[in-house]
Symmetry: C2
Subunit: 513 residues, 2 copies
């Protein structure tokens, strides 16, 4: 531990600024569940799917493409490598992962009050990831820019319900593809002090992320503290490609965390049936996590699952349907049995706007996310259109739902005050409780107060302009951005980061790939 | 059993009409869960709340107001009656209820294919109940009429996702208060052949309901077959009034089912804390069910719970918040421990329109409704504005969500086809599954197909008019009503019902109470 160094970074003027900020950014750093996760399959069903995953790994195998170094690592680790096809004997991946991967870990933030625990009974909400488009009520749908990117980082920083700054909250399309990762990582560090994600679009961009993290946290610090977590997607079915493998290796070598995530549109990247999606997801994730553990035993890995159903009409991904919810519950249980943290879920939808469809679909994903016990939740706020777009209003509405989940997971207060038996004794039949001592003592904290719901009378609502939820959210994000103040940062660190970015940008030409 | 009589009613021409109808009204008669309900409290916590409920019943007691006959029944049953205050010794109510109340029962419908099982692992969705206002996109918010009432009965009849015709789907404000129950019950019988609810606004209106049911099903049939289920609300805290007691007695005497439901706005009709709401709800419901079992041992009763949180600003009820969800999960577990069916939940919201607020809030109630194992779900479709209004578009959107739940509760298919291992074996890494034999064989039934979601591309959605979910739902309910055909009915029964209604209406003057 280098807690001293960490404390030093937050001391003095910075600490005072942080304290001032925290006066109006009140929050818990992550959710902690008080109940057992919901389960849709029993022991036998889960064991069947684990057996099938092992069958896939042993008989079919996984391709590790265009990466001879990865094949060498896997062969040395005991896998059967023939060309690019890698097969694992039954139980081998499980054994390797269980031997060294941590059951849970802490991702450290620039502000230690924002450190998050990933795994166990903890749930961490991170915003939308990867959308080329952004949307708001004023300007409709358009390509995302670095300005939009910074706005979403600021909103996630300001939201008490989001625990993480995320990664590619939107694609900043106005910055060259091969340089935008530098601006994105800088924004996460400068516009927020919550934990963040690194670049994965090329191994050297992952290394840039690590270099910037080292400038921010200190080079030694990273060796024992994961300060980034990064999204490594499988190229399903049963393929890991060299870009993702290279990024995964760069992060693992620096002891940084990775989310090994099969991205499966059922019927396209896997069979259409839930049990098959689960077996294939487990096989792919196991192969990926095994690779990371062979690169650096003990590097934090998270089992990821992103599964969607499909429209029979168009072949488009669909969200909020029952089938992906079932997959989520099963995969969460499989991750627990394996003993690694789990990533899935979010506020996913296919809707183009923040309407009832968007909300139903998002809730139909977020509820299983929380009840199933997902540990790291990407896309918890903002997602629209199957991820093609991130919405400003949707972001605000989703974050409010995340806030409700934080209260829900605390469960029922069974203290004497919670039981409230004396209040019932003293009040008696037919008497309302509005003015009783128990009500007055508990009213402030009794109920979650939604920031976006209108609970007024119909008449008052009409008088207020008959606004729908999206229109109210529009006012909220504008007010938040108007009131935003950047968190404090050591000027020396800031200068070093800006210098690093300038040097890197000057060292190679712009490119659109 | 009088199954012969029942079959006779559905025979001949009627059966042929029914068969024709069912060709395009495909559905399961109710949901059957394949997994254990979600629990937020363990054995110890639940026992504490049961203990507190008994303490309330023993120390504080419950008032049974303006009903000397009820007090006599309770005194004869062993309760301690002082004035209108009735106290029950610890365990007494539980013992009486468990001795004779059925753990589950069937509510019989005019079309036996629509019979519903109430209790155990079954969930029955019934529409909105009790709203004075209706809303649609074309005409906004207005008082409900008998025309609106019939429209909602028709929509519930036509929806494959609703299992029940409900009761006061909206208040038909254009019919005198003291006669509208006749038109409402007739509409349920004539415009639908799903099971329905009876009138509870006066004991004689309950008896009218029973009389109309006898004309429809045969007088003897009712003695052994519950064909109505009716909503008996407590006047919380800790009061049962004579209107509800009279209605409950009328139904119990005819062996018809009742939902004994404390309606609690936490902070007003009970303390603000969840554990107190649960203990009080259990106490009130136990007292009500005990009364019914003393009136007629074995009459079907359902433990009901309707709990909402409250806006600190206005004192208005709020919905979709975490606290009522916790209460729901606890009450469902308490009902299971008691061994009676459970009523709660629905698609509740405070929103005035079918927007994102409405959908988030409704989903935040409907998910616990299904995962908690609610058996009878009132307000499953249409509810707006804390129940003040029922929306046509909201009805369509909610029903679609109910359809998703029906698929969800079936769980994961672990058949060989469901496991799909051969499909993965045959396909291999990097090959999509779109055209494989397994996909083609399963695609039709693989995914729930939403009737209201737009899953097209953004460009296609724009071309289709950039409609939001409510606008699409508007088209759907209009098409449904345009295509509606009444289910068949024996002309003799229809004539008898109309004659009964005419005679009753002529026998007393109109009144607005």
């Amino acid at each position: 531990m280098t807690d001293d160094a960490h404390r030093r970074r937050s001391g003095g003027r910075a600490a005072r600024q942080a304290a001032r900020l925290h006066a109006h950014v009140e929050r818990t750093p992550f959710l902690t569940r008080t109940f057992k996760p919901f389960e849709v399959l029993g022991e036998e069903g889960l064991a069947t799917i684990e057996h099938n995953a092992d069958t896939i790994l042993e008989e079919v195998g996984v391709e590790f493409r265009n990466d001879p170094e990865a094949l060498r690592v896997l062969r040395d680790g005991g896998a059967d490598v023939q060309g690019e096809r890698v097969r694992f004997s039954r139980g081998m991946c499980r054994q390797i992962v269980q031997a060294t991967a941590p059951r849970e870990f802490v991702q450290y933030a620039r502000n230690e009050a924002n450190n998050v625990r990933i795994g166990g009974d903890a749930t961490v909400f991170a915003p939308n990831y990867g959308s080329p488009f952004v949307r708001d009520l004023d300007n409709g749908r358009r390509y995302g820019t670095i300005e939009d990117f910074r706005n979403f980082v600021k909103l996630a920083y300001l939201s008490p319900h989001l625990h993480h700054s995320g990664g590619t909250v939107c694609e900043p399309v106005d910055v060259p593809v091969n340089k935008r990762h530098l601006d994105m990582v800088y924004s996460h560090i400068r516009n927020s002090d919550k934990p963040f994600m690194g670049s994965v679009t090329a191994p050297e961009r992952a290394r840039d992320t690590v270099d910037m993290a080292r400038l921010t946290f200190g080079a030694d610090y990273l060796e024992t503290h994961p300060v980034t977590i990064s999204l490594i997607n499988a190229n399903s079915p049963l393929v890991w490609d060299s870009v993702m493998l290279g990024a995964a290796r760069a992060y693992a070598e620096a002891n940084q965390a990775t989310l090994l995530t099969p991205f499966i549109l059922a019927g396209a990247m896997a069979p259409v049936t839930a049990a098959a999606v689960c077996a294939q997801t487990l096989a792919e994730a196991l192969a990926g996590m095994t690779f990371v553990q062979l690169v650096r035993p003990g590097a934090p890995v998270v089992l990821g699952s992103f599964a969607s159903s499909m429209s029979m009409q168009s072949g488009a991904p669909t969200f909020g349907t029952p089938e992906p919810a079932l997959v989520l519950y099963v995969m969460a249980a499989l991750a627990r049995r394996l003993g690694v943290p789990f990533r899935s879920g979010g506020s996913l939808c296919a809707s183009k706007v923040a309407d009832a469809q968007a909300a139903y679909e998002s809730a139909a994903t977020l509820q299983p996310t929380v009840l199933g016990g997902v540990n790291f939740v990407l896309h918890a706020a903002g997602w629209l259109e199957g991820g093609l777009s991130v919405g400003y209003e949707k972001f605000i509405l989703d974050a409010d739902q995340c806030g409700m989940m934080a209260v829900f997971v605390k469960g029922v207060d069974l203290s004497e005050n919670g039981q409230g038996l004396d209040a019932i004794r003293e009040n008696g039949p037919g008497q309302h409780f509005l003015g009783t001592a128990h009500t007055l003592a508990n009213f402030e904290s009794a109920f979650y107060r939604s920031e976006t719901a209108d609970n007024n009378s119909f008449e008052q609502w009409v008088e207020d302009g008959s606004l729908d939820a999206a229109q109210r959210a529009n006012r909220i994000w504008k007010r938040m951005l108007a009131e935003y103040e950047a968190p404090p940062i050591d000027p020396g660190i800031d200068e070093a980061l800006l210098d690093f970015i300038a040097r890197r940008k000057a060292s190679f030409p712009d490119s659109d790939v």
